[in-house]
Symmetry: C2
Subunit: 358 residues, 2 copies
Amino acid sequence: MPGTASRADRPADRPAAHAGSRYGNRPTMKDVAARAGVGLKTVSRVVNGEPGVTPDTERRVQEAIQALGFRRNDSARVLRKGRTASIGLILEDLADPFYGPLSRAVEEVARAHGALLINGSSAEDPAREQELALALCARRVDGLVVIPAGDDHRYLEPEIRAGVAMVFVDRPAGRIDADVVLSDNFGGARDGVAHLIAHGHRRIGFIGDMPRIHTAAERLRGYRAAMEDAGIPVAEKWISLGATDPERVRRAAEEMLSGPEPVTAVFTGNNRVTVTVIRVLSRHPRPVALVGFDDIELADLLQPGVTVVAQDAAALGRTAAERLFLQLDGDGTHVAPERIELPTRLVMRGSGELPPVE
Amino acid sequence: MPGTASRADRPADRPAAHAGSRYGNRPTMKDVAARAGVGLKTVSRVVNGEPGVTPDTERRVQEAIQALGFRRNDSARVLRKGRTASIGLILEDLADPFYGPLSRAVEEVARAHGALLINGSSAEDPAREQELALALCARRVDGLVVIPAGDDHRYLEPEIRAGVAMVFVDRPAGRIDADVVLSDNFGGARDGVAHLIAHGHRRIGFIGDMPRIHTAAERLRGYRAAMEDAGIPVAEKWISLGATDPERVRRAAEEMLSGPEPVTAVFTGNNRVTVTVIRVLSRHPRPVALVGFDDIELADLLQPGVTVVAQDAAALGRTAAERLFLQLDGDGTHVAPERIELPTRLVMRGSGELPPVE
DNA sequence: CTGAAAGCGCTTACAG
DNA sequence: CTGAAAGCGCTTACAG
């Protein structure tokens, strides 16, 4: 007899499980209900641990679930419930050691709130950031943690109005009012450069990232402030901004280290720049002092140890994610956007304490 | 007049957007259809760029989309279409520099196939791995790339039967037949240890991860093979396996470096162990040779440079993800599980070429 | 070229 | 304690 009890709703000629078919052919609550001889709602109650099911009924449903290998389709559930229990994280590059701990911290907070994390790398491309962010919104993530690549986020306004929680980290949002969690880039850089000045340097180079990146601009501002505080006029040839690829950085470093009045110290604007400059300095004939923004692994074991302005990537991620869930878990009263700034820490290891050598 | 044209289906007293409500109150295709004065299917056609809509109709629909700020709910779309265009990646710890590039590589392949990536850290806990994997299956990811924490993956069999693509990376699947992408852990370790032997060492220590982890066991096997090939009997006190936390590793290293017949060289079983051992050796009175499994940043700048057996984390991720989409994009013919092994590379930088010092 | 009806797999709001 | 009906926001399969 065609159309058995358990699969009455499925034609016998339904294609077998294979790539391209609907989820193989997974059993649904309807299948479980048919097999257990109960209603759909009863299965739902058992699956979700809701009360009001007799032990005997429950047992029959559980047996059917086991026999069929049923697993609730959370994707369907979500459509009905409204919340997807997932958040998105858009960062520059998952492979960058700075973002690993940040990402992990966001994940831990999400996990504590029962949410999954969807990760995406913008590759520092504003168009790709936007594409990713909107794709995640289309998937209806509950919230988005964004490390901005672009400087105009008005494209997210409709999403925010629609109720998507949003927090920007590491760099502020562009042209919209939103929660932001930053390191004290200005203060950290100023302290790092002041540290070099305190050790007798006056010709200090600054090699940073592209100036359109907020952190790069802020750190440069810190450099200028420290120099100005010390009454040292800055020669523009001491400053080099641009991509952080090794070739560009190498050339920049070699240039400011040569000529009649070379710099005696360098302040590097982020971890990738620091690594390349360390390589250049290791082959340089005379000692040059170095302070780098961002900590790097093994910095303490180099000769000399690398002095850095360290920021706490995990704390940035954690703070941002907590802020996100604050928006999400609120009672509906609007949470006013805030700007949270985390302190940096000067870690002295030797390279920043070298005296100037002419 | 209550119930205007555009929102005829929404009661006037519908709660305003706030946390907890359904997606704020996003417009749906139905809203767009009402506003444009067309049918639902026409909106669907325009949104999905399907043919068969007159320019004039299309314009009206586009205007309604703009005015309402409509964005298609991909989560609903997915329910109907079957494929979610998302894959999951379960790894040990996103913050570990080894997994960053691997994860990024998986993301790039996913992106090329139009899929999003959901990341989860197992924290080396089999229970957490299972919880995560099943949660992702409940979300109906199309496929799963798993770096196993546990050694029994039979719990995934129903999911595989249901059509979820699955590839294991870095470590093999436990007790199920599935695609696996590995580095040549045995061969790499054997070569690394043979390299130390070739430089005159006989008392060589091995400090590795917990033996239940496949990579740790394989690398130890490589160590033993190299020693046996050279006819060197291994003293068990030269071998230390366990957690990779700095304290444990430090004690293990100090122990085998002390006593009447200390080791003259150490082979370290992964990047975290290597870093700690470098710290120990930097304070040790006499030079000790070192070869580490996994490359580490700045290894070339240390004194001496650190010789390593490098594996290509990005290639592992890329290969695994490509294999996953091979399963997914297939024509339905079953793809037989394969075991793919990627070569490692011995990178000589100095520490592995030090002669034995008694 | 266009649209009404049915359905994806669940939950909600009710009614018994 | 239990279940039939309606609905979440889309797409599919048809019919005009």
